[in-house]
């Protein structure tokens, strides 16, 4: 077991290096003359050329990659082309905002999805089950960018209850719509997973034996079910966390939530390569780490997986 964990951790290194290489190559391939963009349209060719030289943009690729990698590892993330500020200063600010949104979404989805899943499983095949499952599958079939617009239309434009977009730090009305939009697919997935986990547990012999023995105490059974269903729920949440990054990006753009997702998107459009590289590296690295922990937890819990590898 320990070997397995160690191996996984060791593999992080080539993965992260591979990631940095992939990101570097992809970003290099994006068209756009950086020097010209910085110099502005009114600059003459000489100015553009001098900027190219200054920034070392005409050095061979491996050299530029190596510099990028070493800089990144030492925490020198460079300066954003858009704002001129040090990226290392900007990132914590935007990351915090995304974290705020993500945590709230995951907590609410967990609770709602969990409850829905349990109800569905316990009253299996009933109208409630069908309804809940229908809602769940709808939740994850709706295009996120579209449901965002519909939610905006309903709650902001028609009902006027909530602001359509924007951001205020701390808990404020602004966080409600983005959260609501993300909770739909997340809780849908969680409901499905919870439902099948609970059903599995309920079919488990132990429970049936316990029931037949008369230990029909509602609480005993419930506790047992919940304890066992919790594991797949947690791992699903972990998967959601890493998969939902894409969704968070879209939501942040539409609701103008100035978090990491919007930061990366703005950098992408502006061809702000330092910011883009750094932000993408950080997000992807985070995903890798979360996935690693999810896998390890899963492996710890479910012996079948552990040895199958």
């Amino acid at each position: 077991m320990f070997n397995y964990i160690l191996k996984r951790f060791l593999f992080l290194i080539p993965i992260l290096i591979g990631l940095s290489l992939l990101i570097f190559i992809f970003l290099y391939l994006i068209p756009g003359d950086v020097a010209r963009m910085i110099a502005g349209p009114s600059a003459s060719k000489e100015v553009v050329d001098s900027i190219t030289n200054e920034m070392g943009l005409n050095r061979p690729l491996p050299v530029q990659y190596f510099e990028f990698l070493t800089n990144f590892l030492t925490g020198d993330f460079g300066h954003s082309y858009q704002s001129g500020k040090a990226i290392i200063d900007e990132i914590p600010i935007v990351f915090k905002r995304t974290l705020q949104l993500t945590i709230i979404v995951q907590i609410i989805s967990f609770i709602i999805g969990g409850i829905m899943g349990i109800i569905s499983a316990v009253w299996r095949k009933s109208i409630w089950d069908r309804l809940i499952m229908a809602i769940s599958v709808s939740g994850l079939s709706l295009p996120l960018f579209w449901s965002a617009l519909v939610i905006q239309l309903l709650f902001s434009i028609y009902l006027g209850w909530l602001p359509p977009s924007g951001y205020r730090s701390g808990f404020d009305l602004y966080i409600i719509l983005p959260t609501l939009t993300l909770v739909l697919p997340n809780s849908g997935m969680l409901a499905r997973v919870t439902r099948s986990a609970v059903i599995d547990v309920m079919n488990n012999d132990y429970i049936r034996t316990a029931k037949s023995k008369g230990l029909s105490n509602f609480w005993v059974i419930t506790k047992h079910i919940v304890r066992n269903a919790l594991i797949p729920m947690i791992t699903m949440t972990g998967t959601n966390l890493s998969r939902m990054m894409g969704g968070v990006i879209m939501i942040e753009i539409i609701f103008t939530w100035p978090g990491m997702g919007k930061y990366v998107y703005d950098a992408l459009l502006a061809k702000d390569f330092p910011a883009l590289q750094t932000a993408t590296m950080l997000i992807a690295s985070l995903v890798i780490v979360i996935n690693l922990f999810v896998d390890l937890t899963y492996g710890l819990i479910d012996p079948r997986i552990r040895y199958h590898n």
């Binding site: 391939l29 709706l142 894409g246 993408t280 997000i283």
Partner: protein
């Protein structure tokens, strides 16, 4: 597969049957778009004279325009119909290509094991760690947003899942006695893969292909929504939804209708898929 079994199926899973009908309709719409559309989806008409008064596009749903028009006076129903065609085309082709790449790599890595397996698996880790929509946007920007770059982007985003799936299937088949026997008899590796392993993966490949289509359709729509997908004037459900954003207050049908069309397709495929999986291979989930 005779009438009795079909009727039994309908009675048992009415929802799935409806979903099937819906999916078939979408396919028909996609194939026969030019016939089904009521107008030329590109014909612009920015103003009309009605009873001596000038009115500006967008026009609300009416007898002439079933779903109304966009702000350039182009018929929305026709645009949505062609949008469905684009969505399905991209969805099927992109997912198909993802399958090709993913199956190829999955077979190799599953069968070879060792270092090759390790390397390819780490590569999939790397690709899967970058949020899909971001990766897709980067790819389309590299190749300049267009139909081809969208398909390429979806393939780049989609192949890792497929490769992993095929790999795990290969791993479980590989240790099968029959395969080991054939190997011991000295059969060539490629022959083994193609004749013995691949056929046993077909089930899972077909399921993965079909269940992956809604995802591909959503990516195309998402990219087009953000302006990084299909370029104007070609209609795409995503870009129509995006164009309608400004008109939510006065012409909400503009954004809502194409979204419903998109969601309905995805929902139907998901329901259909769920039912099929429930029947054949619950362990897939």
């Amino acid at each position: 597969m005779n009438l009795k079994t079909i009727v039994k199926f309908i009675k048992k899973e009415p929802l799935a049957f409806i979903a099937l009908l819906i999916v078939l309709s979408y396919i028909i719409i996609a194939l026969f778009a030019p016939i089904i559309a009521t107008h030329d989806p590109l014909r612009v008409k920015t103003s009309m004279n009605v009873d001596g008064e000038k009115i500006y596009a967008p026009y609300p749903p009416s007898k002439m325009h079933l779903f109304g028009t966009d702000q350039l006076g182009r018929d929305l129903f026709s645009r949505i119909v062609f949008g469905v065609r684009v969505s399905l085309f991209v969805g099927i082709v992109a997912r198909g290509l993802s399958m090709l790449l993913g199956v190829f790599l999955g077979l190799i890595t599953g069968f070879s094991g060792g270092i090759i397996d390790n390397i390819i698996m780490r590569i999939t880790d790397v690709f899967m760690s970058i949020p899909a929509i971001l990766l897709a946007m980067i790819v389309t920007l590299i190749f300049s947003p267009s139909l081809t770059s969208v398909i390429l982007a979806i393939v780049v985003v989609g192949w890792p899942d497929v490769a992993r799936l095929v790999r795990s299937q290969v791993l479980s088949i590989k240790n099968n006695e029959y395969v080991e026997a054939v190997e011991a008899l000295g059969a060539k590796k490629i022959r083994i893969i193609l004749k013995h392993i691949l056929p046993n993966c077909m089930g899972i490949i077909i399921v993965s292909f079909s269940m992956g289509i809604p995802g591909a359709v959503m990516y195309e729509a998402g990219l087009s929504f953000f302006g990084l997908g299909i370029q104007p004037p070609s209609p795409s459900l995503g870009s129509i939804i995006s164009n309608g954003r400004g008109y939510m207050m006065f012409a909400p049908w503009y954004s809502i209708l194409p979204g419903i069309v998109l969601a309905l397709f995805v929902l139907s495929v998901n329901i259909l898929g769920d039912t099929v999986i429930d029947y054949f291979d619950p362990s897939y989930k």
